[in-house]
Symmetry: C2
Subunit: 418 residues, 2 copies
């Protein structure tokens, strides 16, 4: 009960702060971002001491090396984090923009003004730089933010949060706009997920169990950043070289990422012409090929795929490959096994390209390009808080705009309904 009250107080403070923050001019928010960058630089050693303590504790607990590596704020990550704050300061503030302004027959002028959502709760794992990145984007969009990072990064996150709050005090931003849960107690998350009176949006980022838990238990609206089972479909008319390059870039440019290729589909009439060379090149770079029987026929190094492979998010050097009858069958496969994340066709045929774009309703649908472009920076959003797999509000890569909503604004001179 004491913990619940503590969380409620923190949420209420965030809500009060959000109302002040919502009305602040861009320059105050940008000053905070720049001041936070400076203060982080000035407190670098203190923060890295906290960070090394987290790392040492994680090693002592026997946490796996890749996970421990993600904890570290060193090795370029520090500079990226600081640079990120300055970049966000340069982005255009979405708040206050009025669009779709029009005059109704009675003279009432009606438009839609972009406003902050209010209070955003972020629950994330391991990487402590997310604390800074997420706070920067949420605050730039005029929102208060409640941060709950992984327990293994607790000391790093607290040290970073202290600096972010101190920078607020410098610049006239309400300090309570940046809140960190003060405990690693998991009950705190349960309480937070019920604070719908104060919190407007929950964004969970991390493994599937965390995301499912938040979706199941939250009474606050959730934008999930869930898995990506992404496809490339090699159409009948695909050029072999383009297909090979796109498949390679989509699969092995970066492996442990939600926009990575997991299942390759190939039109039956292109299978013997295109597949052997495309798969040979991947296989030479160490990718295991798990194929349907026809794939195994045209590429002897493939191993037979099982049913589970069609919905697997490997995030690893494994690729599922299936030969399909035609575009219809490819679309049906994507709808059945995909995760509505990112799906690309490689084709030279106009009608196929249009069909694919029209019928595949994933958050990013591409023609003749790598799946790796499903990324806020690459799509021109200027920033990315994540890639939403929720269809409502923000579907796909999500930048500052996804952290806002719109209200109707009405300018009248005495208009009545009656």
């Amino acid at each position: 009960m004491e913990l619940e009250q503590q969380i409620e107080t923190l949420c209420r403070q965030a809500q009060s702060a959000s109302r002040v923050l919502a009305a602040l001019p861009s320059k105050t928010k940008d000053s905070w971002l720049l001041s936070a960058a400076e203060r982080l630089e000035a407190n670098r050693e203190t923060i890295l001491v906290a960070n090394r303590r987290d790392i040492a504790e994680a090693e002592q607990k026997g946490i796996a090396t890749p996970m421990v590596r993600r904890l570290s704020l060193e090795g370029g990550k520090w500079e990226d984090m600081i640079d990120g704050l300055r970049q966000v300061a340069r982005l255009q503030d979405p708040v206050g923009e009025i669009s779709e302004m029009n005059v109704r027959p009675n003279g009432l002028r009606v438009g839609r003004m972009r406003i902050p959502l209010g209070v955003i709760g972020m629950i994330y794992e391991s990487r402590p730089n997310v604390t800074v990145d997420a706070a920067a984007l949420c605050v730039k969009a005029g929102n208060a933010v409640i941060l709950r990072g992984g327990s293994e990064a607790f000391h790093s996150n607290q040290a970073l949060g202290t600096v972010l709050r101190a920078a607020a005090a410098d610049t006239g931003l309400p300090e309570d706009a940046i809140q960190l849960l003060p405990t690693t107690d998991r009950d705190a998350i349960d309480h937070l997920l019920k604070m719908d009176r104060y919190v407007d949006l929950m964004i969970p980022r991390g493994g599937a169990p965390l995301i499912r838990k938040v979706m199941r238990e939250s009474s606050i609206p959730v934008l999930a950043h869930d898995e990506g089972v992404c496809h490339v479909f090699i159409d009948e008319s695909a050029e072999m070289e383009m297909a090979a390059a796109i498949v390679r870039d989509s699969k092995i440019r970066q492996m442990a990422i939600c926009n990575g290729l997991e299942t390759l589909l190939c039109h039956r009439n292109a299978a013997s012409r295109v597949l052997p060379e495309v798969l040979k090149r991947l296989h030479e770079e160490g990718v295991e090929i798990r194929g349907c029987s026809e794939t195994c026929d045209v590429f002897s190094e493939a191993v037979p795929a099982s049913d589970a492979d069609w919905s697997a998010e490997y995030l690893d050097k494994i690729l599922a490959v299936k030969v399909v009858d035609d575009l219809d069958a490819a679309v049906a496969h994507v709808q059945r096994f995909g995760s509505e994340h990112t799906d690309v066709i490689v084709t030279s045929d106009y009608a196929s390209s249009q069909e694919w774009v029209r019928r595949v309703n994933s958050s990013t649908v591409g023609v003749n390009c790598s799946t790796a472009f499903s990324d806020g920076y690459r799509l021109g959003l200027g920033a990315e808080i994540g890639v939403s797999t929720s269809k409502l509000h923000a579907f796909g890569p999500m930048g500052l705009e996804g952290l806002t909503t719109r209200k109707f604004v009405l300018f009248g001179d005495g208009q009545l309904r009656e």
Copy 2:
């Protein structure tokens, strides 16, 4: 368990149908709307027999008269319902529109295409015409719809649903795009709220207990249509006649409606000049005035308000009235007691108008107009599925666009990240 499987089957059928529906051209959807209108006319007597049966059963059960009256499909409601279908057929189809198309430095063309959400679940009470209105809007926006009306309107809804599905068979629309829960068993709702694998959005419309239940228990994203505690703030500089007309129109044009005025705020410096006349006119039309002590000082017919009055949604001939120090205090009152629905200022002062619009983040914020304009038709949306009090996705009056989302579409010629 049997009921759960029945609901799951129905949801799965709706999902399959939604994928066909999403790719249909506007003309097929519009044919369905027009055919549904014709078939309803042709089956008028059968449907009204079912409707009269619901009404008779409701009367037998001793259900209150206003509720029984809302059940009826006669007395102009029938014609409005049919006309509504034809109006929706004339609306522009939002699906497929590409906006924000731009070319990235690498030549990749990126745009955002509007697409259906997929499957929408509607839970609503009493008025059976909602069955037709909601199905029309959901299907026009390319979505399958699962309808669960009030148990007291069961026979009417089944009769209407049968006709809507028959019209689908006429016009090449998948029949399963329109689903009605086949039972009044409340467990069916509990099962439906967990079908997040198939259903993309839940829209509850009705009393607060229904809405809270859905928000609390749904694992599917919810757009709530919750209460409106709407305000008019009479600023220091308000013209008396304009204030009186706006207050009257906002309060008594229609009483039992979420955009109706519930609390009137008045700047202290305008209280003696404006309030007595504004309140006198309302009082003469039978509105009970519940005022703060200063209101009671300037208008002797007022009765003292209690704390509960400031957050009451009366939906009745009662108005809470409070004198406040200034615009700051009015904004603070709205933030504390309001429901972020519709809030209007009456003012002659430029700075006050701008402050109000900037600082009050309700779904509809107005200057010098009636709160009654918070309505999809009046704001030019062409239609209205309801007024969302959820901040995400669609905030405020919600038309066809709110029943869609956007995907990123990428047109490349071989672009790679690497």
